[in-house]
């Protein structure tokens, strides 16, 4: 953990020490004069500790690791710099970094709210199609024509259940 006399955001000596209780958890942040100014800490009504905690709670081992998100090329250092992730897949790639953060940041660590039901149904249909198409190719390659015919029938059946035409910018 960082030396408590140093600013949590840069390395300068900390002169502002904050304690805030959020959801019955005590959060402590030490900041230097300029970071406190920049973060609007001096304005009691306008600052959120969550954003500060985000950067301050990053543990140094995780942030020096040379992991990279396969999808978007993001690194833990990029996160330290921006405080935002690169793409949705980053959450899988940097699991070890995210999990300890959540405990401090939120009321719980598991989602219990709305689920995009229709999108998930669509996804399961696509996953099924991908698998069937693989089966089909395999069956044809190994000359199992009965299996191939069955897979082909199933593919056309599954295709009919696709609800609409979803889009994503891949």
């Amino acid at each position: 953990m960082a030396n408590p006399l140093k600013c949590d955001l840069c390395a300068k000596p900390a002169t502002v020490h904050l304690t805030q209780i959020v959801n019955n958890k005590v959060h402590k942040v030490d900041l230097c004069e300029s970071c406190a100014q920049a973060k609007g800490v001096t304005d009691p009504s306008g600052f959120s500790l969550a954003d500060l905690l985000l950067k301050a709670s990053l543990n140094p081992e995780a942030s020096t690791a040379s992991v990279r998100c396969e999808q978007c090329g993001f690194t833990p250092n990029d996160f330290k710099k921006h405080g935002r992730f690169g793409c949705p897949t980053c959450y899988e790639a940097f699991k070890g970094l995210v999990e300890p953060m959540l405990d401090n940041m939120h009321k719980g660590t598991t989602h219990t709210g709305k689920i995009p039901q229709r999108a998930l149904e669509r996804k399961s249909i696509y996953d099924r199609l991908t698998k069937l198409e693989l089966d089909l190719t395999e069956a044809i390659k190994s000359e199992r024509y009965e299996d191939a015919a069955r897979a082909r029938d199933e593919i056309s059946q599954v295709k009919q259940t696709i609800p609409s035409n979803p889009k994503s910018a891949r």
Binding site: I21, N24, M105, H106, L120, K167
Partner: protein, 363 residues
């Protein structure tokens, strides 16, 4: 109604319908959504941002609340137009500063707005006047589900909706109410309230979001956390907190009247005089004067019907709206002249205050 009877009958002030709209000006809910397998706006390349913008605008404009909506890119907006949209809470300051590949779709009635490529691919927002969390939620979840038919959202069962910033994970929902709390400000209790609200996991901000000062005693109260609770639970919790802030504000008003009604009425009367006669008004001062008139309305100094006039002026006194009404760009000093002129003419025909004192108040 006399002031004494007003003090004696708090039930009228605590009456659900009227007092709720008096203290809660506006309810707002926003949801952050992202496209699966696609870089978040802050990390996406320019061409990718354009592609995201195209896909999202197409999907948003296909939903029924967004039929015949305003569908515009940030680049197509002038600085003044951006400022006006910010003042109406239809876009964020962050979006108004976006470089390229960002836009907004706003419904005809200005109840819905969807920002594209702000911090997340989509920031869906609904605005409702008064204290209407439940109605706002029903409206926004319907729009969100309609979008789901056209877009593949980034979602996992454990983390919920995936967002650029981990502070928004889970429901990715920010529900907020804009509250007018003049008595808590006058009696120096706001700091205490902010602290108490923070402990309950809610955040208090000024009128225009993070870091802005609370002009006109108007504050935004919203949930801080988004993961580990359902939307319904967050809304219920926020509702309880708002209800308790309303009670504190009403108590503070009663106490001010009990302690020294003359002092409070002096503030309201002077505000009226300045609004009728001043020639220079900064937007901060105008907001604070209007806030006192609004408090006067709640205290029956002015008729109830004037409240909507003040709520309109809260917005029209902002720099963007003021310059728009004058059809030009003006420096701050000129704006203060124009603002005072505008309010003078508005208050020339305003109903005169009626302070019904009762002589049996303490000393």
């Amino acid at each position: 109604m006399t002031i004494a009877s007003l003090i004696d009958s708090p039930s009228e002030l605590t009456d659900a319908a009227s007092s709720k709209t008096a203290i809660v000006l506006m309810t707002r809910i926003r949801l952050a959504r992202n496209l699966s397998g696609t870089a978040f706006p802050g990390w996406a390349k320019p061409a990718q941002r354009e592609e995201i913008l195209r896909i999202c605008r197409e999907a948003v404009t296909a939903t029924s609340p967004m039929k015949r909506s305003l569908n515009i890119t940030v680049g197509e907006l002038s600085d003044l137009e951006k400022q006006i949209l910010v003042e109406r809470h239809l876009i964020s300051r962050e979006l108004s500063g976006a470089k390229g590949g960002a836009g907004v779709v706003i419904s005809k009635d200005q109840a819905f707005s969807v920002m594209v490529n702000e911090e997340d691919h989509l920031r869906i927002q609904v605005l409702r006047s008064g204290f209407q969390l439940k109605k706002a939620w029903n409206a926004i979840t319907e729009l969100d589900s309609a979008l789901e038919d056209h877009l593949d959202y980034a979602f996992t069962p454990t983390l919920g909706y995936l967002t650029a910033c981990p502070t928004n994970l889970g429901t990715a929902m920010r529900a907020s109410a804009m509250m007018h709390l003049p008595a808590l400000v006058i009696s120096n209790q706001m700091e205490k309230v902010v602290r108490a609200v923070n402990q309950l996991g809610m955040v208090v901000r000024g009128l225009f979001g993070e870091g802005s000062d609370a002009s006109g005693s108007i504050f935004q109260i919203s949930n801080q956390t988004t993961l580990g609770e359902s939307e319904g639970e967050i809304i219920k919790r926020l509702h309880t907190v708002l209800q308790s802030i309303i009670e504190h504000e009403l108590n503070a008003r009663e106490k001010l009247l009990e302690a020294d009604a003359g002092k409070l009425f002096d503030k309201v009367g002077r505000a009226f005089g300045i609004l009728q006669n001043s020639h220079l008004l900064s937007s901060g001062e105008a907001m604070n004067l209007l806030s006192l008139i609004r408090l006067g309305i709640d205290l029956a100094v002015f008729p109830d019907a004037s409240r909507s006039v003040i709520d309109r002026l809260f917005i029209e006194a902002q720099p963007g709206h003021l310059q728009h009404a004058q059809k030009g760009e003006y420096d701050p000093a000129q704006r203060d002249l124009l603002r005072a002129a505008r309010l003078r003419s508005e208050f020339a025909n305003f109903v005169r205050p009626e302070f019904s004192f009762s002589t049996n108040s303490k000393n």
